[in-house]
């Protein structure tokens, strides 16, 4: 911790966040998209821990636990939906999701 500053942590978190966002927008495989969403949450968590450490307030560190819990619940429901869709359609490519249209 001695050699790193808040800026280092924030730059890393920002990079991870943008990486995740790019993946969500660009990738076509739903599982990869979902992993990228989790990456964005992880980036936010990293920034949260860094702020908590450098601002010397505990609230951020506590919020991290809640975020991890929420992310776990989201993954449970999300994977269930993706698996159910795969069973029905045999694919998890987002291009194949075309049954809803006008």
């Amino acid at each position: 911790m001695e050699n790193t500053s808040l800026a280092h942590h924030l730059i890393l978190a920002g990079l991870l966040f943008v990486l995740g966002l790019t993946g969500v927008l660009m990738r076509r495989n739903l599982l990869v998209v979902y992993m990228c969403l989790e990456l964005m949450l992880a980036a936010a968590t990293l920034a949260l821990v860094a702020f908590s450490r450098f601002n010397r307030t505990m609230d951020g560190a506590v919020l991290v636990f809640f975020v991890i819990t929420v992310a776990a619940a989201e993954v449970a429901v999300g994977l269930a939906l993706i698996v159910a869709l795969f069973r029905k359609r045999g694919t998890v490519q987002s291009d194949a999701l075309t049954s809803l249209r006008d």
């Binding site: 979902y34 936010a44 920034a47 702020f51 919020l63 975020v67 999300g78």
Partner: protein
Amino acid sequence: MIPFLAAIDPAFAKLAPQAAHWKSILPEIAVAGLSLLCLLQAMFLPKALRSLIPLTARTGLVLVAVMALTAGPWTLPADVSSFGGLLRQNLPTDGVRMVFLLSALLTSFLADKFLRDRDAAVADYHHVLLVVTAAFMLLAQSNHFVTFFLALETAAVGLYVLVGYLRRSEASLEAGVKYLVAGGLSSALLLMGIVLVYGSLGAVAGVTDSLDFTQIGKALATQTAAHAVSPLTLAGIALILGGVAFKLGAFPFHAWIPDVYQGAPTPTTAFLGTASKAAGAFTLLILATGPFAPLAVKLAPLLAVAAVLTLLAGNLGALATTDVKRTLALSGVSHAGFILAAVTAALVLPGATAFGYDVEQVVVIYLLAYVIGTFLTAQTLVSLPAVEDHRRPQLALRGLLRRSPVLASALGFGIGSLAGIPPSVGFIAKLLVLALLVKAKLWWVLGAGLVGVAISIHYYFSILREAVVRPTEDNEEIAPLDLPFGTRFLIGALTAASILGGLFVLFVG
């Protein structure tokens, strides 16, 4: 509170929840308990008595509503804060609590028949529905970003389940996955925004808890006065508002709405359109007029542009579609535009009133009117036999007037209330928002609202035309529809509410 914590640090004693705090969230606790009761009943009741489950849920919801009405902060001073500032209750949060309870109650009526028609589990649906309702009720009262985030996410995860509930229906699953990705993205943006606000305001002198709405508001007020708001804070606020706009379905974050609303089971569509939208609208209102109020000068033009574009995008989109559920979804976007316009008016002219109602009350009235109109319309769609997931529901509407005049009139009053035809409550609600816009001198937004109303009358009445004028297809039976007594009663009550509600608002309230 656990006594030994107070021994560690006197600060704990000050923060400790008291009996009055628990009492203030009794309705939320009751709704959560009710959701568990649904599961217990599913476990222990014999198959023949399973139909009691939705009945218990509905009776419970009515009792909770009565409890919240009689014991809520109606009688208390303007603002009551509890749990060490995590929650805040006042007249508007109590009003919006009613919106959520009413919406859950009506969704339960729709879901009961809808799910039994499709051989899907009724108890599980009610369980998740009630969890989401309790989460929304807490969300509206949150005064701290931890409660805010947790309540919002609890509701979001539950809604993913409700949207993708029909496991055998491709449309429902596809809508579920699309909602999952859109919702997950908005949650991630929102969380990043919260983190940036927390971090950039955490180092400011005098701020002990940079997640608390009140403290954020104070810190921002000082910084704005000194013209020293850090860019990191502004980026955070933008991300938070973007995340909330996603939930509300405001431009430019409304792209997911038509697909998800079309594919979701119709009761869920109605719940998404009313409760979820109400949650988005109300949180936007409390954020914009609460912690972020010092930035009103910067936010107001942004929200005004978003309101105009949301009104236009929703109405033009609805005009271009023919599928009934998609049309209603996009018209919901335009309703979100109206609410955004009201919030903008609150920012431009703090303390603005219309006919004696302040902005928060106008938003609650608008939401209630929208609930009534949406559920009257949705009731019609659900009552039509076997409108398959993929068939165009508007074809099933044909000849409705001859098959069931009651349903046709329900559709008529529902559409009339959504379109804002006098003397419906929808008309009064729109009138209140337009009056606010006149007071705040937001002529552009007012113009977009009026244009929107004109366009909406066209597409709303083309739905009604299908039901009233168009003949049925040749191979379609035109057997009269028989409605159960409960449905007739519900339609009657909602119709009465749509007519009398507006007059009540105008002359009594």
